[in-house]
């Protein structure tokens, strides 16, 4: 067995033989090894999260024509560490009348719900946490815990701005969950599995699902941004109306956890976008050298994350009613139409050589029809609005 071709297996075999050599039972050994793996994985994710603070600050600075952090370390690379020290030594203020237990649990669940996602992420060939056969739904389930943490934070803070922010955020998250789940159904139809391993493996050799269902990828991106609560859907943080949303009363490290959760969530959704529609860790020579696959995966996830940031710092915030209308009157019907079209095309063309162009064409046609319908209805709306009467000359 070659270390480069299967590092996890080599290390785990070595550790298993070591531990069973000490007289531990096989079951206990495997649990201990999983624990070690989990702790290592979460630690790696958290270190990545800390670096994301730097990435985010640097990128937003570039978008806004600033330099960004540039004092601590080369290119300000060590800036997140003073930030963390500051957050830790800040006094933790709990507002009067707060519901203590719920108030303290909310940030933990918020970050936890994002960390949970990494249990099923296939990082590279033969490097993954659990190969769950319901991984896609597991992802949705973790997202619903995030929703719960937001409403807990908003309610327990005993602050009406926090509660209003939580209402808005939760309404947006649950509304956009429908198109997101439907977008998740599209890779499921294409592979016949909910397992992220299978979905990634079906995309080997450049056979990306983005080519089969570009509209599905777009739907997933839009609803993921709303699920993240990022601009243009960051209604919870309308600074001028409700200060900063559900985490207004949180200080110090508890606020830090919300912030870290948000950044990691964005990166994780970049990763999911790459897994579901852009081939995951697949790339040249990635299946023989998994460490190369890790590199490809992180690069693809970073590109997804960058797109999300790009949108965040380019598009202005939209109003809550427009946002919910956009979801229920446009995104949800479109998502279900896409689901029907994909299911029917898939079962009609399965196995034929026309499969791939057919899928692409059906998506293209649906997108075109949607644009035509929107043009038609907006023209009707424009015509329905009466032109202002010209001033009458006397």
């Amino acid at each position: 067995m070659n270390f480069l071709s299967d590092p996890i297996k080599v290390i785990s075999t070595w550790l298993t033989s070591l531990l069973t050599g000490w007289g531990l039972s096989a079951g206990l050994t495997s649990v201990l090894l999983s624990l070690v793996g989990i702790v290592l994985m979460i630690t790696a994710v958290m270190v990545l999260d800390i670096m994301l603070v730097w990435v985010e600050r640097k990128v937003v600075a570039r978008f806004q024509g600033r330099l960004g952090p540039n004092r601590v370390g080369p290119y300000g690379l060590f800036q997140p560490f003073p930030d963390i020290i500051k957050l830790i030594i800040k006094e933790d203020i709990t507002p009067d009348g707060a519901d203590k237990l719920v108030y303290n649990m909310a940030p933990i669940i918020s970050l936890g719900s994002v960390i949970f996602l990494w249990a099923v992420v296939p990082i590279a060939a033969r490097i993954y946490g659990a190969d769950l056969n319901v991984a896609l739904l597991y992802m949705v389930a973790a997202g619903s815990l995030g929703t719960l943490s937001i409403i807990m934070a908003g309610w327990a803070s005993n602050n009406k701005y926090a509660l209003l922010g939580a209402f808005r955020q939760v309404a947006a998250m649950i509304s956009f969950e429908i198109p997101m789940v439907v977008a998740l159904l599209i890779p499921t139809i294409l592979t016949g599995s909910l397992s992220l391993q299978v979905i990634t493996d079906k995309q080997s050799g450049g056979n990306w699902f983005f080519l089969l269902s570009p509209l599905g990828a777009l739907l997933f991106l839009v609803s993921a941004i709303a699920e993240l609560g990022r601009s243009p859907f960051d209604l919870n943080e309308g600074e001028s109306e409700i200060v900063s949303g559900y985490h207004i009363e949180y200080t110090g490290m508890k606020f830090g956890l919300f912030y870290a959760g948000e950044l990691l969530h964005a990166f994780t959704f970049g990763g999911f976008l790459s897994i579901l529609f852009f081939g995951g860790w697949h790339g040249p020579a990635a299946s023989t050298y998994p460490l190369l696959g890790v590199f490809y995966f992180v690069v693809k996830a970073m590109i997804g994350y960058w797109v999300i940031m790009w949108i965040k710092y380019t598009v202005p915030r939209i109003r809550i009613d427009h946002m919910l209308m956009f979801n229920w009157k446009f995104l949800t019907p479109l998502a279900f139409a896409l689901l029907i079209v994909t299911a029917v095309t898939n079962s009609l063309l399965k196995g034929s050589s026309f499969y791939m162009p057919g899928m692409f064409l059906s998506n293209f046609l649906l997108g075109w029809i949607t644009i035509e319908i929107m043009r038609f209805s907006s023209r009707k709306q424009r015509l329905a609005v009466k032109a202002p009467e010209p001033a009458v000359q006397h």
């Binding site: 979460i42 009067d96 005993n158």
Partner: protein, 118 residues
């Protein structure tokens, strides 16, 4: 691991413990000097008026209702989508019918103006 759920369970356990660590660490070394002004509800310096637990706007509730129904619908669609490649065409059509029936609900709510923000 034989059963991936054991791994997931351990992951959930540790995933909850790890965020607690910085909070606990912060609680150990951060100063603690509470006073009534500091702990009052933060509303940008203005005194709080009325109860903090404001009433929910009914429109959010309507959207939550629609969401609840569609969420359960997607749960039915997942097994259908997984076995889609093994299904004959009429079974695919059954799933499509299932979607269409529920879309009728959305169209109803739309026509009745219940999706409007009032």
């Amino acid at each position: 691991m034989q059963n991936p759920w054991i791994y997931v369970g351990l992951f959930l356990l540790i995933g909850i413990i790890i965020p607690i660590i910085p909070i606990a660490f912060s609680a150990l070394i951060a100063p603690k000097k509470p006073n009534p002004i500091k702990q009052s509800t933060y509303e940008c310096g203005i005194e709080t008026v009325g109860v903090s637990q404001v009433q929910l706007k009914a429109q959010y509730y309507i959207f939550a209702l629609v969401f609840l129904i569609f969420d359960v619908e997607t749960v039915f669609l997942f097994p259908w989508a997984v076995s889609l490649n093994a299904l004959p065409f009429f079974a695919v059509a059954e799933g499509v019918l299932f979607i269409l029936i529920l879309m009728a609900g959305l169209v109803f709510a739309w026509r009745k103006g219940m999706l409007e923000w009032v």
